[in-house]
Symmetry: C2
Subunit: 444 residues, 2 copies
């Protein structure tokens, strides 16, 4: 893409009301804009980054046999009434009436609709197991939207749901997800922890959260560097009576008498000291058991012909949180430093003087050559000063910059600069495409 | 994909309440399910078909320089109040209040939010032209949802918006869209008409609709086979006072005194007889002028430094309507006959006897070989009778079937059957992959 043809409204000023680093940088680099409280517009660069994340999500979901479907955002109240969540969830649920006066809500999650579908379509143990997923908009009326795309009222979510005949099979679906999640976050270049509640407790209620360490995080994780124990501070040290699901946008269970773990507490597994780290929750996995299948009558006939409730799990990942966490973990004073797998482009070409025919000609040649190799290229073809191009390039954070200066070009040389290290190497013109092709990820 | 691992709930029964052929077939072939009135779930096959359509939309939008962004579904009332549509639109708009009592609505279209963004970000003629698009959910509280995915309360829409400095430039953006739309519908294998209102009339208010002929259509088009004149019956013959935009989900203008064109009426252009055909509206393009930019203060500074309103256009396509129209135009008594470009898979392998080792081995080999060529393959690996496999294959409508029967295999032969003509040719095993690769579209 040509910068001149692309809508990238970078800002010189630091937005006053943006608290988190990722929020400030996504605004300044022209990735997002806020339409209203907790409602964000993704601009071309932001949407490209999100789509790269979604492509990774799809690939890894499909590798565990999950099947993509698409559910409505608008739900009839009835199915939420059947599970009891119509009443147990408060103001976080957007509610409305349709033209006939029928009560509806906006999907804050899709356990109800997915279970409804299973109740209609799954009849026999032969239809099991199933994993269905979607990458779909969720709406939650957060009391305090904050930190840009980290806590919003409308957001994309990769949500998957497993349907199994028994606990053993659920355990398989659950572990498939855990492994896929590790692969996803690794591919996204994130530092993260899988944070555990004590498995096997509470009648099969098991949950894990995936946490990306960042000062912008709203969650706190207790970590034991000695034995590797990691848990949400609310669960750490003592076995919880129930799983707190604030990260799912609402609290269903309160455990007000429980003391949260603190810095220096003792690890209940090995006795070492725990440390506390702020984290962004980027994913979660839940064993639901029959919580939804029983009230929504999602039953199946087992091998002996007796009717049993389907055993379920649900699994979420927020793509925008991955983007924000990646920026929180990868930035410097000049801007974003994208992990290669998430960058909206693989490489940015900076022809410094657009009035120099040789510069323009070389830039066009490189642009074409790289695109032919399947590399996603942004070329800053604007008639702007070199200083502005450098500043915008650092802000936007494409991992590799190819700098075309007149002096170097006269010697047949081009500079390749690493956005992270800011190290630049001079490379012969004819070697650039090959060199960049080797290091760039294959475009999705 | 393996049929046994895929969720394809085909139905033997014809659903009682489904009127349109496309609706019946999408239900029977396991493409969609209805959650509630006008609210549809896309199952794996349906979602794959929709994604093929979306890939074509993206490609053609990007070829005219349109940039993909993503807007929220939830909108603050204020911007709709500013354009007057908060009041002029009735029950079709889903309205709700957030937890603070603030009035909100669900986006039935995005002129308001797109113009709001332009008002913030476009300052100078140098920022123009722009074309922004998204493939995003719309919500409209239809009085009478009907015909399956043809008229629903929630649906995907490819909506694009052009921002220009003057009428001449708008005309360019408009024609770029018209050309892209022709290419899109051609690539989707649809018969369609571009239906005109009289351009240049009514202070620049110009609109065209793209209509796919089908008995399931709710629109009627007046066609002149002699001169090629084509118009919505409401516009045909006489110049309309305003554009009726029922297809956009709401009526803003009523022209109750106007008589609609009828079969045998006289073409006002050439004097020949008009014929009337029922059509599905699959797309529309509108010159908006300054209707939204003035109330939302989307102004820019022109070359002389004077402030002017941005000249806008808006352009919509409904992917689910393309899918339904394709089925309406391509089916037989046995099921769907997908155009190659939209089929959820390029080819289906039918190993007739899964208990025969040679059959299974050959099927697996073909499956692997075709996938390596980038061909999307569905393999019916279920342990079902041949009759059931044939019935389901015809119903689902993948364009080419590779049939593996024991008798043919003994002679080293395989049948390739064309879903449309039902003609089968026997081909040597080792030639199958090559033969199918040549005719299958490149996978997106």
């Amino acid at each position: 893409m040509r910068f001149s043809k692309m809508f990238i409204p970078t800002l010189r000023e630091v937005p006053a009301d943006a608290d988190a680093v990722s929020h400030r940088l996504m605004l300044r680099a022209g990735y997002v804009r806020q339409l209203a409280s907790g409602l964000y517009i993704f601009l071309p660069l932001g949407w490209r980054a999100l789509n790269r994340i979604n492509a990774i999500l799809k690939k890894e979901m499909e590798s565990i046999g999950a099947q993509e479907i698409s559910m409505p955002i608008l739900h009839p109240a009835e199915i939420w009434q059947q599970t009891g969540r119509w009443d147990s969830i408060g103001d976080e649920m957007f509610r409305l009436k349709d033209r006939t006066g029928r009560a509806m809500c906006l999907g804050m999650t899709h356990e109800e609709t997915m279970t409804w579908l299973a109740s209609r379509e799954i009849r026999s143990y032969r239809d099991l197991p199933q994993i269905w997923y979607q990458i779909q908009t969720k709406l939650r009326d957060e009391a305090r939207p904050k930190s840009g795309v980290l806590r919003t009222r409308e957001f994309l979510m990769k949500d998957s749901y497993s349907f199994d005949a028994d606990e053993e099979s659920l355990e398989k679906s659950y572990q498939l997800h855990a492994k896929a999640y590790h692969k996803i976050f690794q591919r996204c270049g994130l530092k993260f922890y899988q944070v555990e509640s004590d498995p096997g407790m509470m009648g099969g209620v098991v949950a894990h959260e995936f946490m990306a360490p960042s000062p912008a995080g709203e969650d706190e994780v207790a970590l034991c560097d000695k034995c590797g124990y990691a848990a949400n501070v609310e669960l750490a040290k003592s076995v919880p009576s129930k799983i707190k699901s604030e990260d799912r946008g609402f609290e269903e269970v309160h455990t007000p008498d429980k003391r949260t773990a603190q810095e220096g507490d003792t690890c209940h597994k090995c006795g070492a000291k725990l440390r506390i780290e702020k984290c962004i929750e980027i994913g979660n996995i839940f064993k639901l058991g029959t919580k939804y299948s029983v009230p929504l009558k999602a039953f199946f006939l087992d091998e002996n012909g007796s009717e049993k409730p389907i055993i379920m799990g649900s699994y979420g990942i927020g793509p925008a949180r991955i983007a924000a966490a990646a920026i929180e973990q990868n930035n410097d004073k000049d801007g974003i430093i994208w992990p290669k797998s998430l960058a909206p482009f693989d490489v940015e070409i900076l022809p410094l003087n657009m009035n120099d025919a040789k510069t323009v000609e070389t830039a066009e040649k490189l642009y074409k050559g790289l695109k032919e190799k399947g590399i996603e290229v942004l070329m800053d073809d604007r008639n702007e000063r070199a200083g502005i191009k450098f500043k915008d390039a650092d802000l936007i954070g494409i991992p590799a910059h190819i700098i075309l200066g007149e002096k170097n070009l006269k010697e047949g040389l081009v500079e390749i600069k690493d956005r992270r290290t800011k190290e630049a190497v001079k490379v012969k013109m004819e070697e650039v495409v090959e060199r960049v092709s080797v290091t760039a990820p294959l475009s999705s």
